[in-house]
């Protein structure tokens, strides 16, 4: 008898492949990617380019496929950084090319979307077409003859309904089959002008190339097949025809579109009456000359209100954990000393100051994703393009700048949708001028301390107007700087706006959840590592060196207090002493020494060394200013603002006896904060998004110059007129 055990299959080692997911913008590619890979996704940056590489694992019957999600793109002839990346990856310039490609095609836009498919097929590696939006097509009364379409294209075609998981198994089978067989490029079906056609036939054999390869080189689509020899032949063909690459590309594009329209006519059947088309009806309201802008304004107000309001409870919770819970736990576990101080005053205080913004960032991305996926974002760009083009930006810069009011980090991340490089850079450079929520903390402290709480007109008080003025200052500066940059260092023709307005769709919960998860991860990892390091550095700078002279003196005073009899007053006196000690330590620490070294630079602005320390500390994050002031003025870092404002007002210059903090000093400092790029996280994200230190360094320099100049001017005007 044969051994029964033998019948049990040993697990087969699955083969692994790399496949790419390509398609036009809004074709449903993300939904398909999420359906195929689920939580097995990761995001990394491409080396040398500014675009993120999103990959995920998809397990089919007998293979494991690493799926690369490419950004939406209309053509392999690149225009935006996204499109260049797609071309380079698919044709194998930047990396080894993927083993196969899934071309995602929106069935309701079949003819247009076949353009990219045709280009990808000609690259010579296996292609499977996934038709999406099947449900939408059904609603519109459209159906596609799949076998016919597949025959025309010469590649397998599968209908999928990714959100419901329909067709995915079949897609996997098709992919496996395509990967297993030897692959030949289906013959070219579109007709070129006879003169060109004839020369391709004539010259290709000489160069040892196929007609298609010759054509690609004649059109100047420099794929790896274009050898030097072939380039020469291509130049000869162009010369004989008296055309350049651009004209050939246009011939090809026109020929392709003609063919696409023909086969679309043949394979698409329009059945019954289409159901109501919501998009056109909704546009009537959302793009209405009067209602449109009002609805946009209302939407934005709602988004901002929600970001500030809804984020508060989780922010308080994080603040409680990093500010109270964890430090007190650490105090119970560790004995007082440098280690405890490092953990509490350095790590928890520093990292906590940053991750407290996570709820705001997630909420912002929640709204951004909903606006984007629903199709409204493109409408906002449409409504505002004219306004933005006045300062040399386009409608596509609006959302990134808007996001920067919460935080410049998501704002800068959102610039990836801007196709033009100069536009995108100009937007990245001015985004940190928008008043972010961290500035708000500093503004609130200084305004509360130095702007009298008086009514100006109706319900508007001087404090509120001051705050509004600071917001306007940021907007005006951003507009001016963008205008200036687009006229100088980022000079160039205004890029055309050709913006597809996708149909309105309900955002998919799964896409939303995965986006938020990914954003949280990116924020915590990339900003968290830098902040972590800087926090430790700042803590070290402000805690050391310890001078034995100071320590000894305080030890003596401490001993005097300990020996006092009455308990309640003793505790209060002890607290006060500790606060004095930390202020004194700071004064003589590296940070204090550094702050005093900066005094000559800050003196023209009317700032003393204490403000200098605050400004230096702010380079980790602006809100650090408040806690640093707290330490400097010896009221403890957890002090409430009211005590701090009192302390600020009472501070006098030891030599002249004049108050350090005049209203003018406060205003000057506010102007400084409005313009200065004091945010490590912003600099880090700029480096990541522009792939180098050049632009963040430039932004830092120009904003510092602007801040110093603006502050100097403010002080000068203030002294001249008041």
């Amino acid at each position: 008898m044969p051994n029964v055990q033998m019948a049990i299959e040993s697990p087969i080692q699955k083969k692994t492949f790399r496949i790419a997911l390509a398609g036009n913008p809004n074709c449903g590619k993300t939904t398909l990617f999420n359906a195929l890979t689920g939580l097995r996704q990761k995001v990394a940056n491409y080396p040398g380019v500014t675009v993120e590489k999103k990959t995920g694992l998809w397990e089919t019957e007998s293979s494991v496929l690493e799926v690369i999600d490419l950004p939406g793109s209309y053509s392999l002839i690149s225009r935006s950084p996204d499109e260049a990346m797609v071309r380079d990856l698919l044709s194998g310039f930047s990396d080894s090319p993927p083993d196969a490609t899934i071309c995602v095609v929106d069935i309701t836009n079949l003819s247009r979307h076949l353009y990219l498919v045709g280009q990808v097929i000609e690259l010579g590696r296996p292609v499977v077409v996934a038709l999406t939006m099947v449900d939408e097509a059904e609603r519109l009364g459209l159906s596609v003859n799949i076998p016919k379409l597949s025959a025309h294209l010469g590649v397998p075609v599968v209908e999928v309904l990714a959100a419901k998981g329909i067709g995915l198994k079949k897609l996997g089978e098709m992919m496996e089959r395509a990967l297993a067989q030897s692959w030949a490029i289906p013959p070219r079906k579109y007709q070129l002008p006879p003169a060109l056609e004839g020369r391709l036939k004539q010259y290709s054999p000489q160069a040892g190339a196929t007609e298609l390869q010759t054509l690609l080189c004649v059109a100047g689509q420099h794929t790896p097949v274009c050898t030097e020899k072939l380039e020469k032949v291509a130049a000869k063909v162009r010369g004989e025809l008296g055309v350049n690459e651009e004209i050939v590309r246009r011939f090809v594009a026109e020929a392709r579109f003609k063919w696409q329209q023909e086969i679309t006519r043949e394979v698409v059947e329009k059945n019954k009456n289409p159901k109501a088309d919501w998009t056109r009806k909704i546009d009537k309201f959302l793009l209405h000359p009067a209602l449109g802008p009002l609805i946009l304004l209302a939407t934005l107000t709602l988004v901002f209100q929600s970001i500030f309001k809804w984020a508060q409870p989780p922010m308080d919770a994080i603040g409680y954990v990093t500010g109270n819970l964890l430090p007190s736990l650490a105090k119970q576990v560790l004995t007082p000393g440098p280690l405890l101080s490092l953990i509490n005053d350095g790590i928890f205080a520093g990292v906590g100051a940053v991750i407290i913004f996570l709820p705001q960032i997630l909420l912002l991305f929640f709204f951004l994703t909903v606006l984007e996926d629903s199709g409204y974002m493109a409408r906002a760009a449409f409504l505002l393009d004219r306004l933005m083009s006045k300062v040399g930006l386009s409608g596509k810069s609006f959302i990134p700048l808007l996001s920067s009011f919460a935080c410049a980090i998501p704002g800068i991340m959102a610039t990836r949708t801007i196709p033009n490089r100069r536009d995108r850079l100009a937007t990245i450079l001015v985004a940190p001028l928008m008043t972010c929520s961290a500035r708000l903390v500093v503004y609130t402290l200084l305004i509360a301390a130095f702007a009298p709480n008086v009514k100006v007109w109706g319900p508007f008080g001087l404090q509120g107007i001051s705050l509004l003025g600071l917001y306007l200052l940021g907007i005006l500066a951003a507009a001016g700087v963008a205008f200036l940059f687009r006229k100088t260092i980022l000079r160039g023709p205004t890029p055309p706006l050709l913006l597809e307005l996708p149909p309105y769709r309900l955002p998919r919960l799964k896409n939303l959840a995965l986006t938020l998860l990914e954003r949280a991860q990116l924020f915590l990892v990339s900003a968290g590592t830098i902040i972590f390091a800087v926090s430790i550095l700042l803590w070290g700078l402000s805690s050391y060196p310890r001078w034995s002279k100071i320590e000894n003196q305080f030890n003596r005073e401490r001993a005097v207090i300990v020996n006092r009899p009455e308990a309640p007053q003793r505790a209060a006196a002890m607290d006060k002493l500790e606060q004095k000690l930390s202020a004194e330590r700071l004064r003589h620490s590296f940070a204090g020494i550094l702050g005093r070294a900066f005094e000559p630079v800050l003196e023209p602005l009317g700032f003393d060394w204490k403000i200098g320390v605050g400004i230096l500390g702010s380079f980790a994050a602006r809100e650090v200013f408040v806690s640093t002031m707290g330490v400097v003025y010896g009221v403890g870092s957890a002090a409430d603002d009211k005590n701090l404002t009192e302390e600020l007002k009472a501070d006098v210059n030891p030599q002249t006896g004049a108050p350090v903090w005049t209203p003018l000093v406060a205003i000057t400092l506010l102007v400084f904060y409005a313009f200065a790029l004091q945010c490590m996280s912003t600099i880090a994200i700029m480096k990541r998004e522009t792939n180098g230190w050049r632009w963040p360094a430039f932004a830092f320099v120009y904003m510092t110059v602007l801040a110093y100049g603006g502050a100097l001017l403010t002080r000068w005007l203030g002294q001249a007129f008041f």
Partner: protein, 91 residues
């Protein structure tokens, strides 16, 4: 007063050539030529505004620019400057 009794003989309105920017709200037509320089012409073409495409002018943005058009069933927004290069045979 009785004009309604004598409707003007529906004259064969001659086909007119206009740029996409000059169409009136709701007016339809077919693209006959993209009179733009490269690389803009290819860009316009690749997004789907091709010769023979059926277009309908929907509206201009509240500030007058850009405009929204329907092209073979999809919605496109472009500035008047670019739309001027797209020649339309109106119906």
């Amino acid at each position: 007063m009785f004009a309604f009794l004598f409707p003007a003989a529906k004259s064969e309105t001659p086909l007119q050539i206009k740029s996409l920017a000059e169409l009136e709200v709701g007016q339809t037509g077919r693209v006959i030529k993209i009179a733009a320089k490269e690389p803009l012409a290819l860009h316009i073409l690749e997004i789907g505004l091709v010769t023979g495409a059926q277009v309908r002018y929907l509206r201009a943005a509240p500030l007058g620019d850009p405009i929204q058009v329907e092209v073979d069933g999809f919605l496109l927004s472009l500035r008047k400057k670019e739309a001027e290069a797209v020649l339309i045979e109106t119906e």
